[in-house]
Subunit: 346 residues, 3 copies
Amino acid sequence: MIDSNFYKNTGPYTIAQLSKMMDASILNCDPNKEIIGVAPLHLATASHLTFYHNPKYVHLLESTQAGLCIIHPSIQDHVPANLGLLLSNTPYRTYAQLAGIFYQPKPSQPMGIHSMATIAATAKVGKNCSIGPCCVIGEDVEIGDHCVLEAHTTIHNNVKIGSHCYFGSHSVVSHSILGQNVYIKCGAKIGQKGFGFDMSAEGHFSVPQLGRVIIEDDVEVGANTTIDRGASGDTIIRKGVRIDNLCQIGHNVELGDYSILVSQTGISGSTKFGKGVIAGGQTGFSGHLTIGDNVRIAAKSGVIRNIEPNTTVMGYPAIPQRDFFKQQVYLNRLIKKPAAVEETKC
Amino acid sequence: MIDSNFYKNTGPYTIAQLSKMMDASILNCDPNKEIIGVAPLHLATASHLTFYHNPKYVHLLESTQAGLCIIHPSIQDHVPANLGLLLSNTPYRTYAQLAGIFYQPKPSQPMGIHSMATIAATAKVGKNCSIGPCCVIGEDVEIGDHCVLEAHTTIHNNVKIGSHCYFGSHSVVSHSILGQNVYIKCGAKIGQKGFGFDMSAEGHFSVPQLGRVIIEDDVEVGANTTIDRGASGDTIIRKGVRIDNLCQIGHNVELGDYSILVSQTGISGSTKFGKGVIAGGQTGFSGHLTIGDNVRIAAKSGVIRNIEPNTTVMGYPAIPQRDFFKQQVYLNRLIKKPAAVEETKC
Amino acid sequence: MIDSNFYKNTGPYTIAQLSKMMDASILNCDPNKEIIGVAPLHLATASHLTFYHNPKYVHLLESTQAGLCIIHPSIQDHVPANLGLLLSNTPYRTYAQLAGIFYQPKPSQPMGIHSMATIAATAKVGKNCSIGPCCVIGEDVEIGDHCVLEAHTTIHNNVKIGSHCYFGSHSVVSHSILGQNVYIKCGAKIGQKGFGFDMSAEGHFSVPQLGRVIIEDDVEVGANTTIDRGASGDTIIRKGVRIDNLCQIGHNVELGDYSILVSQTGISGSTKFGKGVIAGGQTGFSGHLTIGDNVRIAAKSGVIRNIEPNTTVMGYPAIPQRDFFKQQVYLNRLIKKPAAVEETKC
């Protein structure tokens, strides 16, 4: 199922081997049976490993032909009797771990520096890096060990990059300091000047954008996402943050540890996120807001006020999700009972 | 009107020639008159061809100076008496066809492979291709005949591309199989890993993204649009789909034949579109949804539930468009009659 | 505070010097005191210049340790007694001017044409330009004096560019005429063909996109923003317009002088803006609309009808902002009084 042109299969593995790797119990299956790879519930054959995690797909669990299925122990009595099971309290993570063992990405380019890369004489590149064709690395850049810069990556002067970082093709980084294990997808633009000017009818006057972008360890930045550098302080993306494609991060924004931004989210200047904030797709945030720890913002919401920690909001302007759904119920009732509408006028 | 720096004019053509090419009737005009080019209604002179299609511009039809106007036969009695007419049941398409005859794009670069392109030894490039400066083509890539790769196109290892495909500058393709006549606009990013991880407060764990992007024939992908590859299955864009700029297509999404995504639309992972779906600009879709054939989604709507075929929805959460407009009427009535508001409290 | 790796500090300056440069009064301070740089209110020390402009940060004004603070004269009696003041009727602009004096960006690349740039023999490049590695400049392109093209800028055939223009890395321009002092951020894509086709269930038929993009003087275009060329007329961005990141400008759109588009705004084909229009983040506009002078559109709004000059609108469909907030008040009241909801049914 997995195209061997793109991924190398390290298997097969016996069910006993898989069970041992994960220190997981197995049920209803022959430990010596060989599993050749992973597949989703509806495509898996008797030689495949699959997993069940999202209740939306319970109908596929009923009919799967998989040879082995990773499930949470709590549902082990509710699956087809003949389905081989590997039990895990975190089935999705266990799947991710085993899939990572089964398949190794084929390297996109060899180690070393391609002859068509342009590296400034004062740049320092660490050990075991792979720098593809048409990469451009500016003066006094420092790149740690084990980094991959795909073709056409552009790193401007003085940027500092930790070890084990990845840069997708056509990513650009300027005015930035990056930690370790940062993964920048293709086309992301990081460090350009922000949208700052003094407005007037006779012409807007640009405000110098003098800050930087600080990206801590283990951050992931999506394809074609843009992160502006700070105006005088810095724009800061703290450790473990995950940013999806086509997001916009304005100048001086701060995103707390492990926050998640789903695609096309936009955050205006100087808004600060606490830890573990989850912003759904196409959400928007006004500038200068404080969003508390563990706030969840439903997709497409627009946030124009500060939000207390541990709350879930929705709509535009965003309100507590429960209130949003109450409004919807009420609006739906109105349009289904035209008489009621008339009565409100009497 | 059309800048000859960018397009070569193959005209002039007589009205008789144009009429013959389209097998179309003409009215109120001299067949021997020469037409030198196309222009919109308000800019056309007596030597220009124009067309009328959108009722929003009926006032411009009244005053146009065009020498020839393509219209639907049903309105031929409602146009200025002295306006030369070319009748067509599909005026917009007839205009497109004639405009395509009148003007030929000037080639952006010569045939052949530019000396500053980097092509892996194992890559296969078809006949009559044009590959611009700074293009990078990886190992075992296959590119069909008559393809154009504008400057800075990046095609990663093992990607397969049919004939007659176009890649705008700075487009990137990896982990993908493309059919024929696929048109990728500049800056589009196709095949990067999707936004998949197991969340936890101690750090999110990436799920290997092992699938591909499959793009069938005659698809168009907009500038700076992003299409993630599948997680274990594939992301599939079926034939004739048109995707506008800055759209986001998540992993394992499937778009049915001839579907249309207007710009800045975002589709979360594993959502499936039927055939002929039209998603307006800035629409958003949750993951794991099924959108039926011929569904229309009004611009800016947010879809969080499955949608039955042949329906039109609007709003967030998206509801049938008729219901959405009823809600608007009701809300408008309320704010115009403050007394009524008070009464609901009594 | 400002990282000297990225910006050169030209100071220090005495307060007397700063006051003289701006022709501004000072209060509560020693004119001979030296100021070493700028900083935001909460980070400034006794050697820093800061400014107060946004009432959201009045609490930071109370506690700032800054050596000198730019404020509007109207609030000079409401600031801490010991705070050194520089008075200005336009504090934000005065700050911008002084910050621009204090800090000079370090050049990203030397003057001249990099050896890894690809410049067509027929292209003309003005005096004192800096053209970075991997730039590609097509046939008959004309570039004025004092332009900077960062690494990987791509300018296609026949594009004309005025003097003092800046192109960020990986920007692409085709089919366009640009004025002077145009600033294009990295990754912007300008001039690709628009989203124009005649729809049908058997396949959409592309309409030739024969126009150009015209960008007047002093325009700024955001990172990864896309601007499609006209279909037969031109797409026009008039003088002084500021466009943020990830915006989409459809074919034949016109933006009036000094209009502002905040990030992720999308404008469908042929919509015309008057002068001084301000579109908030993530706003969307249907095609073929007329938006009057000085219209303001709140963030996330969707505009589907023409808008009269000098109005402020909000919501989707966008309505006058006052009406929008009335609706919100009403909806909030409803959900807080469930009894009232019941009564509307009786």
